[in-house]
Amino acid sequence: MRPEPAQENDVELLKAIVARDEVALAQLYDRYRVILFGLLMRILNNREEAEDVLQEVFLQVWRKAEDFDEDRGRPFTWLVTLARSRGIDRLRTLGARERVAEASAREVPEEVSDAATDAFKSEQRGIVSDALAKLPDEQKRPLMLAYFDGLTQSEIATHLGAPLGTVKTRMRTGLIRLRELLAGQGESFGF
């Protein structure tokens, strides 16, 4: 599949970062700060902690950019996965899982703000939100609790008062359905 121009550019930025190019890191930060900070705010619900983790993420990008493997996926996926992982780690360190799990009932926001400098325009946010909205709540909730609150399937089963086997099935079915819904947008989403 032909990569999008932004993706192609992101790969070049990461290569430049490997070569110790500070300006490239600043450019990558400017491109992704809004989406990654939004993700971290959603996970941590605390501006100070989210900013601290955002800083950790980009320092890790600076120090470990060579770990990015173009053959395994897009820079977007790598950066988001990195930020989400560190955000969940911080959440657990703060011992705030139960509190945030309660907050997770907010589900998908009704509206998402547009950020002109962001790597992903509101159109793509809208596509994902629309796709998610088509999932039954029983499939969507396990996905959101896992992704934004870092809960395991057993913890989700306890949280929702549902059998573990049911949660496993719903989570798997939900993610498969989400991929199917987004597949029509393959050029935009890279799969």
């Binding site: 110790r20 500070e22 890191l25 930060y29 700060r33 809004v34 989406i35 900070f37 939004g38 705010m41 989210a50 900013e51 800083q55 980009f58 320092l59 600076w62 470990k64 770990d67 996926g73 977007f76 996926t77 988001v80 996965t81 930020a83 989400r84 992982s85 969940i88 780690d89 657990r92 360190t93 011992g95 926001p109 998402v112 703000s113 950020a115 962001d118 793509q124 994902v128 939100s129 998610l132 396990p142 896992a146 992704y147 934004f148 870092g150 809960l151 395991t152 399937q153 057993s154 989700i156 496993k168 989570m171 798997r172 993610l175 498969i176 989400l178 991929r179 989403f189 890279g190 799969f191």
Partner: protein, 250 residues
């Protein structure tokens, strides 16, 4: 377990939602199955789109400044002459002494290294870390726990110091070299509860590491502390054998 069983677990793995035992089993399979690794990459791409449902938010400009400032320090340090044998002797000595003996030894070493301090910024950093470690040890109510190497890391040692607020520092020595993409991770184990994850850390080329952590409040009662090898981003539950472990305190 057959190949299809593993494949069924991959979507949940992409959300890091597998329970520890399942994650361990799947991770072992992934090491030997390129097809499943590729499938995991694809599911992770799907999972990553969920991030787009979070509201966009703008961090303060200070974050950008802090990142660039840290990078400048990295670049400066990279231009400094690397450590030689002096550093190794500090760490090796520390691993075999108790907390009080370590205070005496470190004080002597710090005095002996004052001249070199001016010559090597990297040494300055290590000395500052050791000073910070000893200050933490000296805090009223602070505890120091010794961790010893298990079968996966014979000869490795570590000391974990932490105060009543959970501010912790782990000083480790003789840790085995990590595979690419892996890091060591500290765990806090309270009673029979699942281990609580601490931060990840990567030792230097000599297997030495000094890392800081903020322990969760519940971890202050931990009877056991352990270190495993995990993906660099860390794990929610241990996925490798224990490399370092403290004795148990009831």
């Amino acid at each position: 377990m057959v190949h299809e069983d593993y494949k069924e677990m991959i979507p949940a793995r992409a959300l890091s939602a597998l329970d520890a035992a399942e994650a361990r089993v799947l991770n072992e399979h992934l090491e030997n199955c390129a097809e499943c690794r590729k499938e995991l990459d694809e599911w992770e791409a799907t999972a990553a789109t969920l991030s787009l449902t979070a509201d966009a938010a703008e961090p303060s400009p200070a974050v950008r400044e802090r990142i660039l400032s840290e990078i400048e320090k990295d670049i400066s340090n990279a231009q400094v002459i690397p450590f030689r044998s002096t550093q190794r002797s500090i760490w090796t000595s520390f691993g075999s002494l108790g907390a009080m003996a370590a205070v005496v030894l470190l004080t002597a070493l710090i005095v002996g290294l004052v001249v070199m301090w001016r010559e090597n910024r990297a040494q300055q950093q290590t000395l500052a870390q050791m000073k910070e470690f000893m200050e933490l040890v000296g805090t009223p109510g602070a505890r120091v726990r010794e961790l010893t190497g298990m079968d996966a890391a014979p000869g490795a040692t570590a000391k974990l110091a932490y105060d009543k607020t959970g501010h912790a520092m782990l000083m480790a020595n003789k840790l085995p070299k990590l595979p690419s993409g892996k890091a060591y991770q500290l765990w806090f184990i309270v009673g029979k509860n699942p281990p609580m994850p601490g931060k990840t850390f990567v030792p230097n080329a000599s297997g030495q590491s000094m890392s800081k952590d903020q322990m969760p409040k519940e971890a202050l009662d931990a009877g056991v502390f352990a270190v495993t090898v995990e993906p660099e981003s860390g794990s929610a539950a241990p996925t490798s054998p224990i490399y370092l472990r403290s004795s148990e305190i009831n």
